[in-house]
């Protein structure tokens, strides 16, 4: 058997293997790993996951889709694109967290039991997110999105502080209640599917529902009603205003590697759910404008609500959390505008935002471990204390505020350009204004933290390599995406847009 046929053999089951790896890694961490081994197991696990993820992407690029277990798992361009994002950020966050969480252990912030729980749940969290985006059945998608809340609730409340427990409680309750609405929406879609299928049996499989012949038969007014519930439900998890109130708490009080995953990846997985249903509504001319307009409204509201909080923020992890709300709003607006260019920009922004937000949170984590405070005003002169970590942090802040030549600038520019060229001047002008305001806020906050003279009592010491290399790689990636989009990524994006749009 040659190497080619081995690759083909693995590739056929890439989806399944990709899901099993983090699950196994989590179980190994929980039962047999010693303190030192747990980190190694997690990192190795997420490396293998990324490898299978890349094989899956390769297969989707070649065939347009991939499936496993009798079509129970199914991946098209959009799924593969999210798998790529989840597994890349998952790996980097894992590498970073080995150093981060062990330093917290050494400092006595958490005990050995919590350390084990952390590694177990981190892998489980990755598993639930990956399963959500490759589930063919929309009901299973719901089960897995609720699973992400359950897997990450203890991660958010890892520390025994009052704020952490409160943040985790809010996250758990609002996340679960919000998602209950999404299940009601799913039931309504299933209801309309039952009358659309010839035999009346109905189906929630994406491969059945997205078939144009079926999608046309779904009842428009029930779909509209369902979409409202789904948007509120998945929108809660995606951090769209006004359902965003849990997000700044959870994202800022979680351990920093988890913040990076929550803000960089999880909210995108929730947005994925919305995009799937948006596609169903686009299939019929009666409902097409309805979902697009709702996305625009919620998107603009998110941008409008998050930006003032960015300006007045006193806590730098909260600052990045509010920025996530703003960016999700922007992504929703781009999808809602509905031109091919704006959708391309939006989907590209999903990747850019994930990379730069992970970068920003990793930078915030380095500062937090050194200064032991989350208050912006008590952090000064980070560049004198740990030059590389501070520079990467500053670059991360520039990246999330959309400065050229970072990738975020390109994708924001594409969305705005698409808006203006489609004649949506008010919407684009509003977005442009608020992006500019948020930009100013970020630069003021970040330069205050990074530059200036070093304070007394903080020992100058560079962050360890395990916490610098993932950041260096992220800086490289987000810069690269601003200058040049590799061909395979471009093809994958085109396939993902095809999955959002109806030809």
């Amino acid at each position: 058997m040659g190497i080619e046929s081995i690759i083909h053999f693995i590739q056929d089951d890439a989806i399944l293997l990709m899901l099993l790896t983090p699950l196994l890694a989590g179980i190994f961490c929980a039962w047999i790993g010693t303190r030192r081994e747990m980190g190694a197991i997690s990192v190795t696990g997420s490396m293998i996951t990324l490898l299978f993820g890349l094989l899956l992407v390769d297969k989707v690029l070649a065939n347009g889709s991939a499936s496993a277990l009798n079509n129970f798992l199914y991946a098209d361009g959009l799924s593969a694109y999210l798998v790529l994002i989840i597994s890349v950020i998952g790996l980097l966050a894992n590498i970073y967290s080995v150093s981060y969480i062990h330093e917290e252990y050494a400092q006595g912030t958490i005990d050995a039991g919590r350390l084990r729980l952390y590694h177990f749940l981190l892998n489980l969290f990755l598993f639930t997110m990956l399963s959500a985006v490759v589930a063919n059945n929309l009901g299973v998608l719901w089960v897995m999105v609720e699973g992400t809340t359950l897997a990450s609730a203890f991660l958010v409340g890892l520390y025994d502080r009052e704020e952490s427990v409160e943040a985790a409680w809010k996250y758990l309750i609002l996340g679960s209640v919000g998602i209950t609405f999404a299940l009601f929406g799913t039931i309504l879609v299933y209801f309309s599917a039952q009358s659309a299928f010839q035999n009346g049996a109905g189906s929630l499989n994406w491969t059945d529902l997205s078939n144009p012949a079926i999608a046309h038969l779904l009842d428009p007014s029930i779909l509209k009603l369902a979409f409202i519930f789904l948007l509120v439900g998945y929108g809660t998890k995606a951090g769209l205003a006004p359902m965003h109130t849990w997000l700044p708490d959870a994202h800022s009080h979680a351990p920093t590697p988890i913040s990076a995953l929550l803000s960089g990846v999880l909210i995108n997985a929730a947005m994925y759910g919305i995009l799937r249903y948006h596609h169903l509504l686009l299939a019929s001319p009666v409902t097409a404008g309805f979902s697009a307009n709702l996305l625009l409204i919620f998107g603009l509201l998110s941008i409008g609500i998050a930006t003032p909080f960015i300006l007045v923020q006193k806590d730098y992890k909260r600052l990045f959390a509010y920025s996530s709300i703003k960016h999700m709003g922007l992504i929703a607006v781009g999808i809602g505008l509905g031109t091919p260019l704006s959708q391309f920009g939006s989907l590209l922004h999903v990747l850019n935002h994930a990379l730069s937000k992970a970068l920003a949170f990793m930078g915030a984590g380095n500062i937090l471990l050194k200064y032991h405070t989350r208050e912006i005003f008590r952090v000064v002169g980070a560049a004198k204390i740990m030059p590389f970590a501070a520079i990467f942090f500053f670059l991360g802040t520039l990246a999330i505020s959309g400065v050229p030549p970072f990738g975020t600038f390109l994708s924001e520019f594409l969305i705005l350009a698409a808006g203006f060229s489609a004649g949506r001047y008010w919407i684009s002008g509003f977005v442009l204004l608020f992006l500019a305001i948020a930009f100013a806020g970020f630069i003021i906050h970040a330069s205050r933290m990074v530059f200036g003279s070093a304070p007394e009592g903080v020992v100058p010491e560079e962050a360890p390599a395990m916490r610098l290399w993932p950041m260096a790689l992220l800086v490289f990636l987000v810069l690269l995406l601003g200058l040049y989009i590799p061909n395979p990524l471009h093809t994958l994006l085109q396939q993902a847009i095809a999955a959002v749009n109806v030809p």
């Binding site: 409680w169 299933y190 209801f191 009358s195 929630l204 029930i222």
Partner: protein, 232 residues
């Protein structure tokens, strides 16, 4: 499973099944209203158990009279998990947690019952708008109205009561309403989804239970009034 009406060779007046379902669905709504009308936590747990029992009976009736066999599994799971296990665990938690002083609800009882009436009307309007599409449900439309109303009332309970335990019960009751909608309008979801939902709700309940302990340890209370550390 040779359990349903036609297997046994019995013929019923179709109205009997529907009336039974309507009756027990109405009991569920009454439970939701009583949640709002009382402040006693032990009573809340009992009400939840009774609401779940009514749900289980509705599920059995649908399975039996409409011959939707796979709903038997859901009905049995409801009976075991929601009528027996969850209420027992909740009683335990109540015993172990330190006794609490009563907290005033954000909105007083008469006012919240008034709002509840409005929400039931809203649920009915929503149902009418779904019915206006000309679709026929497997069951009478009253049940859909009730299921939406149960969800909305549970949400109202969660919003107006500042007790952690009441919020957990609110969430569980909301899920009951959702489940009623599932069996009424679509005669259940695909099996794998239904089992997944059960699993999620159970895990969510246990995680919430653990957090109840952690809140009471960290804050010396499980009244959420004290949870005000987080601002903007």
């Amino acid at each position: 499973m040779p359990f349903c009406s036609t297997d046994l060779g019995l013929t019923f007046d179709p109205q009997i099944g529907e009336r039974l379902i309507d009756l027990f669905a109405a009991f569920m709504l009454v439970c939701s209203l009583l949640f709002l009308a009382t402040e006693r936590r032990r009573l809340h747990v009992r009400l939840y158990a009774f609401q779940s029992l009514s749900l289980a009976i509705v599920a059995f009736s649908v399975a039996f009279f409409q011959c939707e066999r796979h709903i038997f599994i859901a009905a049995i799971l409801t009976l075991i998990l929601k009528v027996i296990i969850i209420p027992i665990v909740m009683e335990r938690i109540l015993h172990r947690l330190i006794p609490q002083q009563t907290v005033k609800p954000a909105i007083n009882i008469p006012a919240s019952l008034l709002i509840a009436g409005g929400l039931v009307l809203a649920a009915d309007l929503l149902t009418q708008s779904i019915l206006a599409t000309g679709h026929q449900f497997a069951l009478a439309q009253n049940v859909l109205t009730i299921s939406i109303a149960v969800m909305l009332l549970a949400l109202l309970t969660m919003v107006t009561r500042k007790k952690a335990l009441t919020q957990v019960i609110g969430f569980l009751s909301m899920e009951n309403g959702l489940f009623l909608a599932g069996i009424t309008i679509t005669a259940g979801m695909p099996m794998i989804v239904e089992l997944g939902v059960f699993f999620d709700v159970l895990v969510a309940f246990f995680i919430m239970g653990v957090f109840l302990y952690r809140i009471s340890e960290t804050f010396d209370t499980i009244n959420l009034e004290r949870l005000t550390k987080l601002k903007h």
